[in-house]
Each structure stands twice: as structure tokens, then as C-alpha cells.
Amino acid sequence: MIGLSHYLIVSAILFSIGLMGVLRRRNLLMLFFATEVMLNAVNIAFAAISHYYNDLTGQMFAFFIIAIAASEVAVGLGILIVLYKKHGSLDLDDLATMRG
Amino acid sequence: MDNILSVLIFFPAIAGLLGFVVDKKSARAYGITVAAIEFLLSLWLWFSFDTGNAGMQFVEMIPLIPDFGVNYYLGVDGISLFIILMTTLMTLIGMVSMSIEKDVKNMIITLLFLEMTMVGVFVALDAIVFYLFWELSLVPMLYIVGAWGGPLRVYAAIKFFLYTFMGSLVMLVGMLFVAYVYHSLTGVWSFAITDWYALVLPVNYQLWLFAAFFLGFAIKVPMFPFHTWLPYAHGQAPTIGSVILAAVLLKMGTYGFVRFSLPMFPDASVMMITPIAVLSIIMIIYTAMVAYAQKDMKQVIAYSSVSHMGIIMIGIFAMNSEGIGGSVFQMLSHGIVSGALFMLVGIIYDRRHTKLMSEFGGLAAVMPKYAVIFGIMLMASVGLPLTIGFVGEFLVLLGFYEISPVMTILAGTSIILGAVYMLSVFKKSFFGPVTKEENKNLKDLTAKETWSLVPLVAIVIWLGVYPKPVLDPINKSVNAMLVFMEEKAITAEAKDIIKVPQSATTVGEVK
């Protein structure tokens, strides 16, 4: 029987994959992808909890996360395009202008 | 004058604000006038003080943050009364004797603000108000050391500020925790110290809280090994800064122990007697030795200050009326004597622009008046009977003897070691032939210097011969404190060690 733990574990593994992506990648676009992975991983956990506790709150959160993810992509991609135009690159190493 | 305490606190502050519009030339006269009025006000406080009453007097209470029980709550008892008097007196005398040429107006204003914070610390009965003044007092001192100090002034000022500030932050956490515990036990928020006194805390709470408060107070005292900021601060501060620092600011720490640690955590205090006594004894002997090794006259006095604060510390932890009363008296004595000694060092510094003892020698012949006053203060510092220094030291050692004879003997070496370094200073500076050409024509005390020192000499002798008017109110309040400490103590050990004098247990008996 598949329990809550199974979903949570899958969610955790997916989240860690996303985290690895965030750590590994220098290309901003790929970073966006990794972020999407993490967001989706969390969504699974929410949905699973919602299911197992028979409570809609989890799903609500998932909705809002999706909404935020969508907005983020919209704005983020816009910024990426601007950046690309300015620097001709999306590599973070090339964009390191905030050195302290 | 029901709100005399508020007047005492805010008069110098308001006067200080007005000081900004005073003409630069008359700033000094203005400052002295304000300080003199303040001193007279504090004298008035003494005269209207009911010596038969051991509790808090002239109480004022205005709610500040009612939801959290923070009140503007003031009051004095026998313990704080004389420290306030000493504060106003030393500020006045410090101003009279001040020899600063640079930015006199700013100095006067700073001093007046400092006076406000010092008086505030000693009259506050609300922990938050106490803490507020406690921290505020750092700022003017920081400014005095940092702006008028010697070559290393910035280092010294920052060290002084950060070190004491760090300790008091821990103390603040302790205060908040006490308030929290008070709330969880009674359901009411209160920061009033008098409310906290009624709180019976479990021993492990007491120990933790004691440690928190200890850090704040011990750095201020300053206890070994937290003392190293003091020589720097003294070494760099201008004379007036050293005088106020030694006379009043250090007393805040010991006063804190008497006002907070002892009555609030009687069991923890009793448990901590041995560690604190050991630290104090190290402090007494070690700093006395370090003082002996100094080449700079002012550093000797600075280290001797630390050594004497050790005596005050063990007196507080004697847990009997003789010891604690003696400690409070010794606070006054140390304030006046070390203040005077710093002023004396300042006087010779003004003339020679050096404080190295090797530069002096034979001054007794050139500056006889100066030598006489220095000698009197020296003798008071080493605790000669019939000077103010003896009464406190004697009572402290007497009181602590009940706790531990061996430690008393060790602490008592202060009377030997004190004589060693003080006499060596006197011999190096005042005795022998006049070897340096520059010293041959030094001017003896000027009228200004004489008039600022003579009152101190008079007090040193008056309170040495007849300490009763001061000792009685102190004693009364200390006895009252011991009575409720004993009642409040949980452990049998603490009940056993806290010793209420017989004269305090029989109510109404007049001796």
C-alpha cells in the first residue's frame, strides 16, 4: 500500500534533484528549470498531505505555488531576455557584477 | 518636593541642553553652578531622608508601557542615597578642578548628561529604567575618553564601550527572563525591582540568572579577569574622566550586585560565594602586584582601584550586615579617595605633562601642600584608621571572616600590598632629592586646586572619625535586605549563611 511517506520521499528526492541543479548550473535558464523542479516536488508533497489528511489546504497551497511559479517565469524570462541582450550571455560567472 | 528624584535626574540633563546656548567663555561657570545646585538638591534629599525608614523613599511611579509593566519607578534607600550624594559631589568637584582647555563647553554638557545617567542608575527601581540609564552612561563616557583622551584614546574608548556593553546585553537578557518568569508565575508583567524581590525562584533559575547579571556587573566592577579595559580607559581618559569613572561608574557594578543579585537570587549568591571570593582575592592580590610594577603614576592608581573593588566585592558576598554595610561604605570611600588621587595625578600631569614616576622625585620639598594632601589620600587608600578608607575595609574583612578565615587572611594582604605599592609611589615621587631640573620650580597647588581637594580631605577625615551619619542609614537598609533574603532563601545552606544581625531581628528595640 502506498502511504504518505512514499509520496513525501519521492517529493524529497525530486526536491534534492532540483537542489543539485541549482547548485550545479551556472546558466540562468537551466537554473530556472531546476527551480521548477523544486517547486513541483513541493507540490507533490502538498497534494499528498492534502489527500492523506483529507484536507483541502494542501491543494490550496499548491494552487498558489503554481500561480507564483507562473508569474515568476513570466517576469524571470523577461529579465533573462534583457540580460541576454545586454551581456550576450546567461552564464552567472559572466554576470558577477555585485562583487563585495 | 515629592518628585525630588526626577528633579535630580533631569535637572542636569535639561541644564545640559540649555548649555548649548550658553556662551563659550561662561560655560565653565555655568557648569559649576548647575553641578552645585544639583549637589545642594542631593543634600536636601539627605536632610529630608527619613533615617528611621529602611525601605524605599521618595518613590515616584509613572506607567511607561503599562501592558508590559514597565514603569518610570524611582526611589532611594540608605544604600543608594549616599552613592547619589557622592555622584553629585564628585561631579561638582571634578568640574571645579577641571583643567581642560579644549572644548570646555562640550565637556560641561557631556558631564551634565553623564550626571543624569549616573543619578538615574542609582535611583531607578524599574529594571528597564535602570538598564536604560546604565547603557546611556556609556555614551558620555565614551565621548569623554574618545574626544579628550590621550594618544590611544580611540582604542581605549572602543574597548571600554564594547566590553561593558557586551556584559550588559547579557544582563538585559537576564532581566527579560526574570520579567518573563514573573509573568508566568503571577500573570502580571512587571519590571519593578521591588516586585521581583518577592519572587522566589528555583535554584537552577537563580544560578543562570545570577550568571547573566554577574557578567553585566562584573565587567563594570571590573572583576578579574574582566578588568583590562580599565587601565586603558584610565590611562587615556582626561583627569575628569578618570575621576568620574573611578568614583562613580565602577560603583554601578557593585551597586548592581547589592541591588539585584543578592536580594533576587539569595541561594545562588550563597552558592557563588566561594568562586566570587576566589576571583576577588585574585583581583586583590594580583592587581596589587601589577600596580606595584607600574611606572606610570596614573596606572598605579588605576590598578589600585581594581584591587580595592575586590575588597568591595568580597564584602558584598560576606552575606552579613557588617560585610555588606562595609562594602557600601567602601564604595563611597573608594569613590572619594580614588577620585581625589586621580585629581592629584592630574595636577602633576598638568604641570609636567608626564605621569612617569621616574620623572619626579623629591616633590615633597617643592610642593609641600600637594604632598600633604597626596599623603592623606594615600593613607586613606591604604586604610588607615580615622580615615574613610579604614571603616569600609575593616568592616568588609570583619564580615568576610565569618565566611572564611583563610580567605580573609588572603584578602587582608591588601592592607600590606596596598601599602607596598602606595608607599613606593610616594617614595619614588615625593621623597629623595629633587633630581630633575624641571621639577625644581614647580608651582604648589593653586587656589582652584586647593579648593577642590580640601572638601575631599575634610570628608575623608570626617567620615573616618564619625561615619555614623552615613553608616546608620546604610546599615538599616542592609539589615532589612538581609531579613528578607533570609526569609526568601530556599536552601538550608543559604538560610544558614545569610546572617541577620540580632539588632535587626528584634523589632522596635532601640539601642
Binding site: A96 | T228, P385, A419, G432, N475
Partner: protein, 632 residues
């Protein structure tokens, strides 16, 4: 009678204040005169009180005011004039008056003349407080007061520079003054501890209450208290090992040596033991220790006096030795004999010192007796005085010292402490020898001073007249012994020789006499006809050992003063600066460094930030997991 008490007490104080008024001005003879008159008034008041106490047998007890009230402690300024204190008062004021008058002559060339009188009178006041107080705290006031006055007076010529120990064994007046003060402080700590023990066991420091309570106290407590008080007495009375300051204190002006370091202050320790006799008589072990130490010091000091060349130091050693005798008597329980010897000693020792002062004045501050000789021609009165004093000191029959010292030696026999007796007898012989060695070398034989170009002259006549009462007393004081015994034993425990001792008393006396006369004869043989130096003897190790005071001052310097200074310096430079302060600075530096290092995390590269964020997140996760595991 109360009025008299206050007059006796405060006349010296008034004198001191009066002289202090002129302390910084030119020499004014009238200051000395007024001071002397006030002291004389004090003496007269004391004498009247003595007659009153003698006549009525009642003590006068006054309480002036409260001093310290704290907790259960009540210390008043209370004064008691009883048989013991009135004896001391009379002796002190008498000797002081004479010394004051003497000082007018002696200090006539000193520009700090007025200051001197101020200090001297202040000393007398302190001494009066010491002897008259009715409680231990008051005694301690006087105790410290005389210490300070002694410091001021020993260091009176503070302008003299420090010199090496070879040149002057006491280095300089200011050095000697500090040494005296510090050594006394060491002992004072013992005394304070004694007071504390008594207070916490009795609940009071009043003599009458303490002495009423001591019989009920535990033996250990009593022993501790007695020992602690005696440590205090050891300092003031310069008993071994705290004795070195006394000879160095001879740096002070000679009247000071006469008054403070011979007649009065140094006997304060003996006075304390006598005063606290109810305590000491309950502690036989401590008392025996006192007697043994006293005997040892008597011999020890006398041995150093045998070879010394310094006129004043010889007398100082003899003072030390006589103090040993007093302690021996007090330790053996013969308190009244100790007090009697104290009084008698005060007279002849003051006389001896003042005589030495005359010589010094005449010899322009030259103190080496090897450079004197034949002074009797110019100074016959002084010779007479010093001769009388030396005879009294040596214990020649019918002089004051004979009665008192003989009684002490007899006591030692009576108590069955034969070893102590033998040492005391030998010491009596040594005393006679060094006293007369000094007298003969100074006044008889060849006139060695001439080769140093000194023209000695006799002291002023009024000074010599002023000294005469002391001379008379040195001769006749012994005859008052029985009356004295009768008088003071009203307060002090009586001490009688046993029947057996009484029978052989004349034999014992004879033995002592033989030693004394033998000592004088030896001195006569060796020194009466001039100085013949014996190179071999002077180079022998024992001569050098004695001449260098058993090297004790050097040892103290090498093993106490210097290491103390070294350790202090190390404490400052090594511990305080390198450890304590460095730790504080280290913490600050660590924080600063940490900030400086972690600043490098701010690379400006988003990827690095993300990495750090992930590290943080993982750390938080781990913490959460651990705490969850800990709770669950």
C-alpha cells in the same frame, strides 16, 4: 576626672594641630615651646589621674561617642584609665615631654622644625589613644596611628637619596620609613585577624566584655586569637622575624628614636600582651612561645649589638633585646614585672638615646663609635647621663634596670624554664659588655675624632636639665618596685616567686651580677684605653655574620623584595598584558578576522551565493532532523 582624661588625651593633639598650622613656615621656637607646654599639661593630667587611680583604686572610664556601628558591631571611642593604662600614660607623657623639650635644642638647625613638632605630638596623641582605649578597635587606631607617625618621623629627612647597603645599611630615611610601615602592616594583618576572631566569638571588641567571655571560649579559638594578636605585637615590638625595621628606623632624628623606637611605640606590643593578659594566661602554649621567642630575641639582638659600630644601632639592638626580656616576662605570666621593666626601660633607654643624640649633635651627625673616643672632656654631663643609663641597662644593683631585669630572670628560674633562664643570664652579660663598649669607645680613650676635623661641644644647658628627670628615674625607679607591684596588681594577676626561688633569690641575683660585672670588666679591658682593632677578629666569619645582622636584611631583599618586584613585573607584562588582555583583544581580533574572512563569500557571483544558501539550508535541515530525533 573625665576632664582630666580628655586633657591628657587631647593636649598632644592640640599641640600637633598647633604645630601643623606652622608646618610649612619658617622655624619658630615658640612652636616647640607651646608643644612642650601642652605635652607637659598632658603629663600633669596623667600624673593626676595616676594619683587618683592610686588613691581610689577605681578606674576612670569614659565613652566619648560612637565610632562604627554596623550589624551587631558597636565600637565607641571609649577610654579607660586604669592601673595599666595610667602607668603607660604617665611614662609616655613624661618621656614625650622631655623629648619635646630636648627636640627644641636638637632640631634647632632644621628648617622643618615646626613640622617635626607636629609629627611628634601627633605620635604622642596616637600613643595615648593606643594605651587609653577601652576596646581593641581603639587600640588598633592608636596602633596604626603610631605606625604612620613613625613612618613620617623616620622619613623626616626624606630628601636624602638612596645609597647602597654597604654605605648605609638602612639605604635612606624614606626607604627605612617604608620598610617600617610595611613590616608593621604585615603584623597588623595578624592583629586584625585577632580582632575578627574575638569579635565573631565574643560579639564585642570591648576589653571588659571580651575578657569576661574568654574563659568560656574554646581552646583552639583562644590559641588562634592569642597567636594572631601576638603577631600584631611582634610587628610593633620588632620581634624576630619582623625585627629589621627597628634598626633601620634609626634613620629618623634621634629624639624620634628615643621616644618612638625605644621608650614608647615599640613597647606597644608588650603593652598589648599585658593588656590582654586574661586571654594570654588562658593559652599557656602561646604564652610559652612568647616567652621563648622573647628570650631568643633578647639573645639574638644582643649578639648583633656586640660588634656594631653605629652608636644608635647599638642602642636599637639593645632595645630589641630588652623587648625580648619584656616578652619573656609577659609570656611567663609575670605581667606586672613586664610592665615594670617596660617603664624602667623607657626611662633609661630614652636617656641613653638622648645622650646619643647629644653626641651626634656634637659630632655633626657622625655615628661611628670608632671615630669618637675621649669625648668625656667636652661632654661630661652627657657622659654622666649615658653612664647612668648604661649602668641601669646593664643591671648594676640599685639602678632601675637591676630590679626589673633581675625579676625577669628570676621568673624564668621560678617557672622552671632553665634554658630560658640561662640564655637570659648570658644575655645580661652581653648587655653589660656592649653597653660599656659603646660608652668607653665614645667617651674614653684616645680622641679619634680629631683626625676627622670635628669640634665637639656640649649640648645646650636647658636640654641637659630637661634630661635630668630621666637620669634621676633611671637611678631611683627601681625602688618603687614594691609600690608599683601593689598598684598594678589590682588589675593584673599578681606574680610571686615560689618559696624555694625566694630562698635562693640572692644566689640568682649574684649570678646575674657576676655576668653583668664580667661584661663591664671585659669592655673596660678591651676599650677603656682606646680602640685597638683586631684585624683577625674583624675578618672572622662570625664577626661578619654579626656585623651584617646575620645577613637577614640581605636575605629579605634577595628572597622577598626582589622576587616580589620581579613577579609583579611578570604579572603585569606577562600575565596581564600577554594573557588576560591578549585574550580580550584576541576575541575582538577573532571577530574582526572572521568578518574579514567571511567577507570573501561576497563574490558577487550568484552561483556561489546559491551554493552558500544550499549549505545553510542543508545545515538547518540537519539541525531540524537532529532536534526532531531528540524530541521524538
Amino acid at each position: 576626672m573625665e576632664g582630666l582624661v580628655y586633657i591628657a588625651l587631647f593636649a598632644p593633639f592640640a599641640s600637633s594641630l598647633f604645630a601643623a598650622l606652622f608646618g610649612m613656615s619658617e622655624r619658630k621656637i615658640f612652636v616647640g615651646v607651646v608643644a612642650s607646654v601642652l605635652l607637659a599639661i598632658s603629663f600633669v593630667a596623667s600624673a593626676m589621674l595616676a594619683f587618683y587611680v592610686y588613691g581610689t583604686g577605681h578606674a576612670v572610664h569614659v565613652t566619648m561617642m560612637d565610632w562604627i556601628n554596623a550589624g551587631d558591631l558597636r565600637i565607641p571611642f571609649g577610654f579607660v584609665v586604669d592601673q595599666v593604662s595610667v602607668t603607660m600614660m604617665t611614662v609616655v607623657t613624661l618621656v614625650s615631654t622631655i623629648v619635646h623639650i630636648y627636640s627644641i635644642g636638637y632640631m634647632d638647625h632644621d628648617k622643618s622644625f615646626n613640622r617635626f613638632f607636629s609629627y611628634l605630638s601627633a605620635f604622642v596623641f596616637s600613643m595615648m589613644v593606643l594605651v587609653m582605649s577601652d576596646n581593641f578597635a581603639g587600640l588598633f587606631i592608636g596602633w596604626e596611628g603610631v605606625g604612620v607617625c613613625s613612618w613620617l618621623l623616620v622619613g623626616f629627612w626624606y630628601h636624602k637619596p638612596d645609597v647602597s647597603r654597604e654605605e648605609n645599611p638602612s639605604i635612606s630615611p624614606s626607604w627605612a620609613a617604608n620598610e617600617a610601615f610595611i613590616m608593621n602592616r604585615i603584623a597588623d594583618l595578624g592583629m586584625l585577624i585577632g580582632l575578627f576572631i574575638l569579635y565573631w566569638n565574643v560579639g564585642s571588641l570591648q576589653y571588659d566584655e571580651v575578657f569576661a567571655a574568654v574563659p568560656f571560649l574554646d581552646g583552639t579559638v583562644l590559641n588562634a586569637a592569642a597567636l594572631a594578636l601576638f603577631i600584631g605585637a611582634m610587628g610593633k615590638s620588632a620581634q624576630f622575624p619582623l625585627h629589621t625595621w627597628l634598626t633601620d628606623a634609626m634613620e629618623g632624628p634621634t629624639p624620634v628614636s628615643a621616644l618612638i623606637h625605644a621608650a614608647t611605640m615599640v613597647t606597644a606590643g608588650v603593652f598589648l600582651v599585658i593588656r590582654a593578659n586574661p586571654l594570654f594566661s588562658l593559652t599557656p602554649e602561646v604564652s610559652y612561645f612568647i616567652a621563648a621567642l622573647g628570650t631568643f630575641v633578647a639573645f639574638f639582638a644582643a649578639s648583633m649589638a656586640l660588634v656594631n659600630r653605629d652608636l644608635k644601632r647599638i642602642i636599637a639592638f639593645s632595645t630589641l633585646s630588652q623587648l625580648g626580656y619584656m616578652f619573656a616576662a609577659a609570656g611567663l605570666g609575670a605581667y606586672w614585672i613586664a610592665l615594670f621593666h617596660l617603664a624602667a626601660h623607657a626611662f633609661f633607654k630614652a636617656l641613653l638615646f638622648l645622650g646619643a643624640g647629644n653626641v651626634m649633635h656634637a659630632m655633626h651627625d657622625e655615628l661611628d663609635i670608632f671615630k669618637m673616643g675621649g669625648l668625656k672632656k667636652v661632654m661630661k654631663w652627657t657622659y654622666l647621663y649615658m653612664g647612668i643609663a648604661s649602668l641601669a641597662l646593664a643591671g648594676i644593683p640599685f639602678f632601675a634596670g637591676f630590679f626589673s631585669k633581675d625579676a625577669i630572670i628570676e621568673t624564668a628560674w621560678n617557672e622552671g624554664t632553665i634554658v630560658l633562664w640561662a640564655i637570659l643570664v648570658v644575655t645580661a652579660g652581653m648587655t653589660a659588655f656592649y653597653s660599656f663598649r659603646q660608652v668607653f669607645l665614645t667617651f674614653e680613650g684616645d680622641e679619634r675624632y680629631k683626625q676627622y676635623g670635628i669640634h665637639p661641644h656640649e649640648m645646650y644647658r636647658y636640654v641637659l636639665i630637661a634630661m635630668s628627670p630621666l637620669a634621676v628615674l633611671a637611678v631611683v625607679a627601681g625602688f618603687g618596685m614594691e609600690g608599683f607591684e601593689h598598684f598594678v596588681t589590682k588589675l593584673l594577676p599578681d606574680y610571686h616567686m615560689s618559696e624555694h626561688t625566694h630562698h635562693i633569690a640572692w644566689i640568682l641575683g649574684l649570678v646575674v651580677l657576676v655576668f653583668a660585672v664580667g661584661g663591664i670588666a671585659l669592655a673596660y679591658k678591651k676599650y677603656y684605653h682606646g680602640l685597638k682593632r683586631d684585624e683577625k677578629l674583624e675578618n672572622s666569619w662570625y664577626y661578619k655574620l654579626l656585623a651584617n645582622q646575620y645577613y637577614i636584611p640581605v636575605l629579605y631583599e634577595e628572597f622577598i623584595s626582589k622576587p616580589y618586584a620581579m613577579i609583579s613585573d611578570a604579572m603585569w607584562n606577562k600575565v596581564d598584558m600577554k594573557i588576560v588582555d591578549a585574550t580580550v583583544d584576541g576575541i575582538a581580533k577573532f571577530l574582526y578576522k572572521t568578518g574579514d574572512e567571511t567577507r570573501k563569500m561576497q563574490t558577487g557571483n550568484l552561483s556561489n551565493y546559491l551554493n552558500w544558501m544550499a549549505v545553510g539550508a542543508v545545515l538547518f535541515l540537519v539541525v531540524a532532523a537532529i532536534s526532531a530525533a531528540a524530541i521524538g
